[in-house]
Symmetry: C2
Subunit: 309 residues, 2 copies
């Protein structure tokens, strides 16, 4: 990657611009909304200042200067070897912008979409140069949480996935490969499985929202902050994952069997969960709590960088 | 809590002894196996030294001296106001030891069982003073991961749960209440839901074991290390959990619908997962990696103690 374009300048696009610029790569940054083009540089600077404070970058100016906000999509993508598409996640919006991007890029450019659950084949089928598109789904915000899901469409050029995986690693991200398209990819399917069980337990009156949250934040989440679920169980039985699976597989199968008839999150359930959350955190404090979350994340990322792998 | 007994001196029991002793409470520690009674003090001292190194306790000797290894169960529990039962998790073993404990305790003592998934009603039904028993399930190791699930049996004296919740909080643990018995309680049901989805995604050839692990360790697990799943989604949409649930509920319902016919972890699947894990970490390195995990946990717990709540 020598020249990158970011198309779509919300929180995700701004985070991506930081990821590339932090690694020394010039970024051309475009959003169709002029207000966003005006305000993005100061939002990006604010994030960079926070990162500086937590020791995650050395110099705000050096990174910020690598990001050029430009006034047209063509100007942003024409010379890029990589384009990160991060526009609003609605099918018509994605389709339109991918058509524009496909028409304007070099033949050998690669376009990664930040789509969090819609597979690329749904919105790139009729795009020019569609073989250059795939999903590169980050976690929000991408400059703090390094995971990126790479998901090719059936027509994605097979050389792209290994190239992008290596490039993302060089940027300091942690890419994974989803071998074929599936709704929700890996990340949101894992999140969904946990959420669905959490909602079902709450719905059955087994525990409060706050106590279910504590089970993760003060229990399971500690190990998962540096080890995945397979490594966790591999280290949780003397004989490794095989030993663990033989002992506990039947329990987990029983748990799955109990969820053969999943209920949607009904309006009544949503109301009850909302009531417990709002008792814990009033609506007017959501924004302040999000700022707290971001600072906790930065402190944690800084901590993590100093640990042995 | 003024005098505590720990019955069962393996890793879990030893961790519990540290939890109580660290908080200044004298502990009488018993295991039926004489070898364990001989070796437990040095194992506990080794853990305490590690904790001292990471700034989690001030003085090894002061904490260690509060733990008395005794030679009989009756001697351990007779004067205790709280007994933590941590024997091997097999029904016949639990039943036998609960009968012994129930016969030897004071009328007003409370007995918490470390059982990780078997409800107390299954093994305390015929124990003397059965109304004094409940589940107090920790995460391993309890002196590093603070979560404790309190699960009453139908006959547990109703005053015990609020008393033990407050007492556990005073010890520095994070207790949650499971309102009635369910297999796997809350923690292992949440873990099971995530694991079942992870196994299914791997089985379908969608991603490698290592890439599924990365999705948690470098993605979802970062936020879950200090926030539960409900708070995470509450902060992930401008209008809070209600807003989030309306947008993404249908996706998560689709994910649940796809798992209506859960497969057990078959021997063939276990073999494939094992092969990928052993390629990542040879069997002879399991023990060293577990030591790495414990040190990572200690570093993380120390980091967490310095963060604003």
């Amino acid at each position: 990657m020598k020249q990158v374009a970011v198309v779509g300048g919300g929180l995700v696009g701004s985070g991506w611009a930081i990821v590339f610029a932090r690694a020394g790569i010039p970024v051309r940054f475009f959003d169709a909304n002029e207000d966003i083009r005006q305000t993005a540089p100061s939002c990006i600077r604010a994030s960079l200042s926070d990162m500086r404070e937590f020791g995650l970058i050395d110099d705000v100016d050096i990174v910020a200067q690598r990001i050029d906000v430009v006034d047209s999509l063509v100007d942003a993508v024409a010379a890029a070897d990589y384009v990160q598409e991060s526009v609003f996640e609605r099918l018509d919006v994605k389709k339109a912008v991918c058509a524009e991007i496909g028409a304007a890029i070099r033949d050998d450019a690669v376009v990664g979409s930040s789509s969090s659950g819609i597979p690329a084949s749904i919105f790139t089928e009729h795009a020019p140069r569609r073989s250059r598109f795939l999903i590169a789904h980050p976690v929000n915000p991408p400059h703090l949480v390094p995971l990126v899901e790479l998901v090719p469409a059936p027509w994605t050029d097979p050389e792209i996935v290994p190239w992008l995986r290596a490039a993302m690693e060089q940027l300091g991200q942690v890419p994974i490969v989803v071998n074929r398209e599936i709704e929700g990819f890996i990340l949101n399917r894992l999140q969904g499985a946990l959420l669905n069980e959490a909602w079902a337990l709450f719905d059955a009156g087994l525990a409060s929202v706050a106590d279910i949250d504590r089970t993760i934040a003060h229990g399971l989440g500690l190990r998962w902050s540096f080890m995945g679920p397979f490594e966790t169980i591999d280290l949780n039985a003397p004989g490794g994952v095989e030993d663990y699976a033989q002992r506990l597989g039947p329990l987990y199968h029983t748990i799955a069997e109990a969820r053969r008839d999943p209920k949607p999150w009904s309006p009544e359930m949503i109301e009850r969960v909302t009531a417990e959350r709002r008792a814990e955190l009033p609506k007017q404090d959501l924004r302040a709590r999000s700022a707290w979350r971001d600072r906790r994340l930065m402190a944690f990322v800084s901590h993590k960088q100093h640990q042995p792998i």
